[in-house]
């Protein structure tokens, strides 16, 4: 067993904000961070709180930080995002970044972890940043959902008063707790196929067709879809979509539900547009072809797939505007029960459960 050498955690991380960034780094609290070299292995435990100040003129509604580890092959990265914030000009806020890095000691010196700004979203939905992670799209979706849900809960408050809002919150909390979750393992196949109908299905597999939950107001509708199914594995999902809106679409995400033999439904994941540079003109069809296999289990036991259902969960138009299902769409299609609540709904429910109804009402009235 090698000796342990304590290192300085602060020198193991580099925080990079661009010069013209609307956010200024005020301080980095390293808290309980530790770094050590144990017999040829570096173990870095970073528990940072980055305090940032909005040094721009507009209110900040979200920030995403890119996390990379030096020389970390073959390539993977992480991000930490804070959506659903409301930071006026000149005000500060914190972003927690908790990382553990374990790697062999290498010759190259310098910081092991790099934290960079990927993007900042403002209240007018404008964006700043390199956007390497497509965080503009993600944060715009979250902010759009946040506006939808705040409007909904404010409407409930107006129509049904405090008691009605309390009831809605309790139902939201119950849905969150009740929402059945699956264990999912995902792997890349390495055998892409261009055909909408899978060919060369292996023994023991069968091809199953997607059923679709069509949301009436969705600008993009699914047409048909297939996946190769073997027990608890679903391979190479292929979904054809059509753009029924009057403008070009550059991103679509299909929510994917699976049903087991008892008839229980679970949200398995999502199938995003396979090409981030996709541009689907109005009225045209396209295919989503992620080349992956998903394996489903629950409490350690495989979940045999008896059926699959897809639904359009997000659409981004070429002009940057986004579409998400309305609350009415979610309620009437029973998706509210299966889908995770938006980050904003989760945040409001947390305010309600920890600080009570009065605090929730005060928060809603801020917007």
């Amino acid at each position: 067993m090698g000796q342990e050498t304590v290192l300085d955690p602060a020198s193991s991380v580099k925080i990079d904000l661009p010069e013209n960034s609307p956010l200024a780094l005020i301080s980095t609290n390293m808290g309980d961070s530790r770094a050590s070299n144990r017999g040829g292995t570096i173990v870095l435990d970073l528990h940072m709180a980055l305090t940032l100040r909005n040094s721009g003129a507009r209110r900040v509604r979200g920030v995403t930080l890119l996390i990379t580890a030096q020389e970390f092959a073959p390539g993977g990265k992480g991000s930490v995002a804070r959506p659903c914030i409301d930071v006026p000009s000149g005000e500060q806020f914190t972003v927690p970044v908790d990382i553990r890095l374990v790697r062999p000691v290498q010759q190259a010196g310098g910081p092991l972890v790099r934290v960079q700004l990927d993007g900042v979203l403002f209240d007018d939905l404008s964006f700043f940043g390199p956007n390497r992670l497509n965080s503009q799209r993600a944060m715009t979706f979250w902010e759009t959902e946040a506006q939808r849900d705040r409007a909904y809960f404010k409407h409930v408050l107006q129509a049904r008063g405090d008691k009605g809002l309390g009831e809605e919150m309790l139902q939201s909390i119950a849905r969150q707790a009740e929402r059945p979750q699956l264990n999912v393992a995902l792997s890349r196949n390495g055998r892409a196929t261009g055909s909408i109908v899978p060919q060369g299905v292996a023994a023991g597999e069968h091809v199953a067709q997607f059923a679709f939950l069509k949301l009436p107001n969705a600008p993009v509708q699914p047409v048909e879809g297939w996946a190769e199914i073997a027990g608890n594995e679903a391979r190479s999902p292929q979904i054809e979509i059509v753009n029924q809106s009057g403008k070009p679409v550059r991103y679509v995400e299909i929510g994917w539900m699976v049903k087991d033999k008892e008839g229980h439904e679970y949200l398995a994941g999502s199938v995003p547009g396979s090409n981030s540079a996709m541009l689907l003109p109005a009225g045209q069809h396209s295919r989503l072809l992620p080349d992956t296999t998903l394996k489903f289990s629950r409490t350690g036991k495989p979940v045999e797939i008896q059926g699959m259902t897809g639904f359009v969960s997000q659409v981004e138009f070429a002009d940057g505007k986004v579409w998400v299902p309305s609350r009415e769409d979610l309620k009437s299609s029973a998706l509210l029960r299966i889908m995770a609540p938006s980050p904003e709904e989760q945040r409001l429910a947390d305010i309600y459960s920890k600080r009570g109804l009065a605090a929730l009402v005060a928060e809603l009235n801020r917007y």
């Binding site: 073959p74 264990n183 390495g190 199938v271 629950r298 009570g356």
Partner: protein
């Protein structure tokens, strides 16, 4: 031939619950009977071991915070139903909703701390994306980079078929979303 006390008498004697008469006779017997004295000693040893019976190491502060929040929610639900019942005469949709909410809440609030499911993403080149209860890990060989849930707060996780896992948690009134990606 000496009659030994019953096992039950010895067990109660070891813990001090034996009645006065039983205590007297057992006490007199064990002074002369090694076998029974050994049994009493074993019972006493078990009592000592039981006193050490503690939960496994856990984050008490987080657990306590969750419990306090859930208790608060449970009380609010009870109040909601009480008010609904007081206002209504007989069955009504409002009361039905309130009672349904309470039932869901009482059953569901205890699941609020359910551990997040494990999610793993593998790439043929050897990199693995995995979600554990404490965060999202990107692993390659003997190296790993993990985005941890702050203070071990339970997270809601989703998978994207493109090779991405996302974990979302609420802590201190703010939402944080960690994401790991396979390139």
């Amino acid at each position: 031939m000496k009659t030994h006390p019953s096992e039950a008498d010895l067990a109660l004697f070891a813990g001090g619950e034996a009645g006065r008469l039983s205590r007297f006779f057992v006490n007199r017997h064990v002074r002369e009977c090694r076998e029974c004295m050994d049994q009493v000693n074993r019972f006493e040893l078990l009592r000592l071991e039981l006193r050490e019976f503690e939960p496994p190491p856990h984050d008490w502060n987080r657990l306590a915070a969750e419990m306090r929040a859930n208790i608060h929610v449970g009380l609010e639900a009870g109040e909601c139903v009480r008010l609904a019942a007081a206002e209504q005469r007989g069955w009504s949709p409002k009361l039905a909703v309130a009672l349904a909410s309470l039932m869901l809440l009482v059953g569901a609030s205890f699941l609020l701390k359910s551990p997040a499911p494990n999610i793993a993403v593998e790439q043929k080149a050897g990199a693995v994306l995995e979600s554990t209860g404490s965060g999202l890990e990107l692993r390659h060989g003997s190296s790993s980079l993990t985005l941890l849930n702050h203070d071990g707060v339970a997270a809601d996780q989703t998978v994207s078929a493109q090779g991405e896992i996302r974990a979302r948690y609420v802590d201190g009134g703010a939402v944080t979303i960690n994401n790991v990606y396979l390139e």
